[in-house]
């Protein structure tokens, strides 16, 4: 599956942002849809976009900022070149996920929730990918991986660090 992560992101461009916003501003309850679209284009939601969204939807900046900060998905700065999400929820905990998370942290030299110093990998927790019968699971740039063990995780980490 291809996701936004596979493609290089566009640099911030307010004209492009205006296009994206106007493409969706006509639908009901558009805020999340627009924030998703902006993040898909730029890799994050650049701060100058917030007042633009507010104006287009006739909302206050505070309202849009509030929505933006409520949801875990939206980034205020770009992620590393690759994003590795490790499932940290109960089914994966039961299948040895804690040890794998610690292993990934040690290998990358960062705690979960951070980006490696070389900016290559952002390591993030995710609370359930719905792959609970093939736990522990992970997602690398939108690609799902199940039955994770140390060997498979090492292969994923090597791929992410390339």
């Amino acid at each position: 599956m291809t996701t936004a992560y596979d493609a290089p992101y566009e640099p911030w461009d307010s004209k492009r942002a205006t296009e994206i916003i106007s493409e969706h501003s006509g639908i009901e309850g558009a805020t999340l849809v627009i924030l998703h679209a902006l993040q898909e284009a730029f890799g994050y939601v650049p701060e100058p976009a917030i007042p633009m969204v507010a104006e287009a939807l006739n909302l206050s900046r505070a309202e849009v900022h509030g929505v933006f900060t409520f949801y875990h998905d939206f980034r205020k700065e770009p992620a590393g070149r690759h994003v590795l999400k490790l499932c940290r929820a109960e089914a994966c905990q039961a299948a040895g996920g804690d040890a794998l998370a610690a292993h990934a942290e040690a290998r990358l030299g960062v705690a979960i929730g951070n980006t490696s110093a070389d900016n290559r990998v952002t390591l993030e927790p995710i609370y359930c990918l719905g792959l609970c019968a093939t736990a522990p699971s992970a997602m690398l740039d939108g690609r799902v991986v199940g039955r994770l063990d140390e060997k498979r995780l090492d292969a994923l980490l090597a791929e992410a660090q390339r």
Partner: protein
């Protein structure tokens, strides 16, 4: 005629290599000049056998698995030759784990092409809608009510009553909303059906629309499910092309349209009022009830909001009649439940069966115990807000009321199995921590209680005034249970209190804990 081969595109199968197997098979067939037609289906839900490859024969589909790309050359020889192979599982429908099930909702999942309306119809799809179109709204409501179907999201509210309330409401617009924010760990049935048989969800929502007089529906899918988003969007487009969505649904006078909206990583949005806020483009802050969504839901209009599995159960009921569904089950839990076996389990997957099967049968007999081979110590039923049950409660039948009587809940029917290496104080802490991170912040018991809960359990784990702090945890749990606005704060006490009640030894002084772990 070319050979028809079926390989799942279900995310759970893809995660263990289904795409690689499909690609290798296509390449090997091309190189060998063998005409094969690879159909990407949903998963049958036997995840320890994934990726499962099936080939159509005159005797039925023969299954092989779990396959890897390295197996492809010999698999190709087998399916073009005498069919013998070390990975051969026999006729798929005859695999005992599958044969024991009662698949009403998941009847087509893993069999049909989830992108083809024709295939859906060829396997009995849209018969429920066709019958519904010949009935009055009251007749459909009578069927749904008589089926005994209760909300499969976890709350178990009778679906017929919910629909009737919306049908009777007067408004210029009404909505149908499908809650596909399946955030509970250990659950994946919504994901599977959306990826494997999306039309059954669409058909169920369409029937809801014509019953209550709504012309627009939304499916709110969590962003952690990109495969399901793609599958639902493709199916909606196909249903529109085939005249099953849009104006004149199925040739009738009714209009109904569907739109997928994607969540953004907030667990609380699985709570229905929070989901509605999110759909409206706001923070997922829980609404106080009343008013009920059935009176004032999406954009303030009467709204039917149901879980994916509730909608997916509807076509069977309309097609086969309420009695055919209600004949399954026990007590007030009628019909079947798609149960999900997960975590540290040998035979994990989706097991749809009538209510009434015991927890022990599910874990030991069907699930085969743990994957690690160690003894089962605890199971969590119903996601992060569900109770942990010890082996002593394995005689509990799978039924809304039976679980409630034992201070548990079936929730969305996910079961996560833990072996004897689990530290239950750590799991109790995680429940509080998860609630603290995911709380929408509106009500104090949930917002503050969960944070205090983490701190207090940490003190217990450090052996600070253990018995006093245990009293504090119990007190906090009581406040959260009775004082929270929604199930997030209200149900977090279930895992915490059940861990305390059934696994008290894990909360004792450190030396005892260490001994127990050895």
């Amino acid at each position: 005629m070319s050979l028809r081969v079926f390989i799942p595109l279900d995310a759970g199968s893809v995660a263990v290599g289904a795409d690689d197997v499909a690609l290798a098979l296509a390449q090997a067939a091309k190189a060998g000049n063998i005409a094969i037609d690879i159909v990407r289906t949903g998963s049958r839900g036997l995840y320890w056998l994934e990726p499962m490859v099936e080939v159509a024969t005159s005797a039925g589909r023969i299954a092989f698995g779990p396959a890897t790309p390295a197996d492809v050359p010999s698999l190709l020889d087998a399916i073009t030759g005498n069919g013998q192979h070390p990975l051969r599982l026999g006729i798929a429908d005859e695999i005992p784990w599958l044969k024991r099930q009662t698949r009403l909702t998941f009847a087509r999942c893993g069999i049909t092409d989830p992108r083809s309306v024709e295939d859906y119809r060829a396997h009995g799809g849209y018969k429920g809608l066709e019958r519904a179109l010949t009935l009055s709204s009251d007749d459909i409501l009578a069927d749904v009510t008589a089926s005994g179907l209760r909300g499969r999201g976890g709350a178990g509210f009778p679906t017929g009553i919910k629909w009737k309330t919306v049908a009777q409401a007067q408004a210029d617009r009404k909505f149908i909303v499908c809650n596909a924010d399946e955030g509970d760990s250990g659950t994946f049935a919504d994901r599977m059906i959306m990826e494997g048989d999306p039309f059954v969800v669409i058909e169920g929502m369409t029937i809801a629309g014509i019953t209550v007089g709504a012309t627009k529906g939304y499916i709110y899918i969590r962003s952690e499910y990109p495969h399901a988003v793609i599958a639902m969007n493709a199916a909606i487009a196909a249903a529109k092309r085939a005249g099953y969505l849009g104006t004149k649904v199925g040739g009738s006078a009714h209009s109904f349209d569907l739109e997928v909206r994607v969540g953004a990583g907030a667990y609380v949005c699985g709570e229905e009022t929070s989901l509605l806020e999110s759909l409206e483009g706001r923070r997922g802050i829980v609404r106080a009830k009343p008013p009920l969504p059935a009176h004032k839901g999406l954009f303030g209009k009467p709204t039917v909001i149901n879980n994916v599995l509730s909608f997916a159960a509807i076509p069977f009921i309309l097609d086969n009649g309420a009695k055919a569904y209600a004949d399954y089950g026990m007590g007030r839990s009628r019909g079947t439940m798609p149960i999900q076996l997960a975590g540290n389990i040998r035979y994990g997957g989706l097991f749809e069966t009538a209510f009434g099967i015991t927890l022990g049968e599910l874990i030991d007999d069907i699930g085969g115990g743990t994957f690690t081979g160690r003894p089962v110590r605890a199971v969590q039923v119903g996601g992060p807000l569900g109770a942990y049950f010890p082996r002593a409660l394995f005689d509990t039948p799978f039924d809304y009321e039976a679980f409630a009587a034992r201070e548990g809940l079936i929730g969305h029917a996910g079961i996560v199995v833990f072996d004897d290496s689990v530290d239950m104080a750590k799991q109790a802490r995680f429940a509080m921590e998860f609630c603290a991170v995911e709380s929408c912040g509106k009500c104090t018991p949930c917002r503050i209680g969960s944070t205090r809960g983490v701190e207090t359990i940490d003190k217990i784990r450090r052996d600070e005034r253990v018995s006093e702090n245990l009293t504090v945890v119990e007190d906090l749990c009581n406040t959260m249970k009775f004082g929270s606005l929604c199930a997030l704060g209200g149900f977090t006490p279930y895992p915490v209190m059940s861990a305390l009640k059934h696994f008290r030894e894990d909360f004792g002084p450190a030396p005892a804990r260490l001994q127990a772990a050895e």
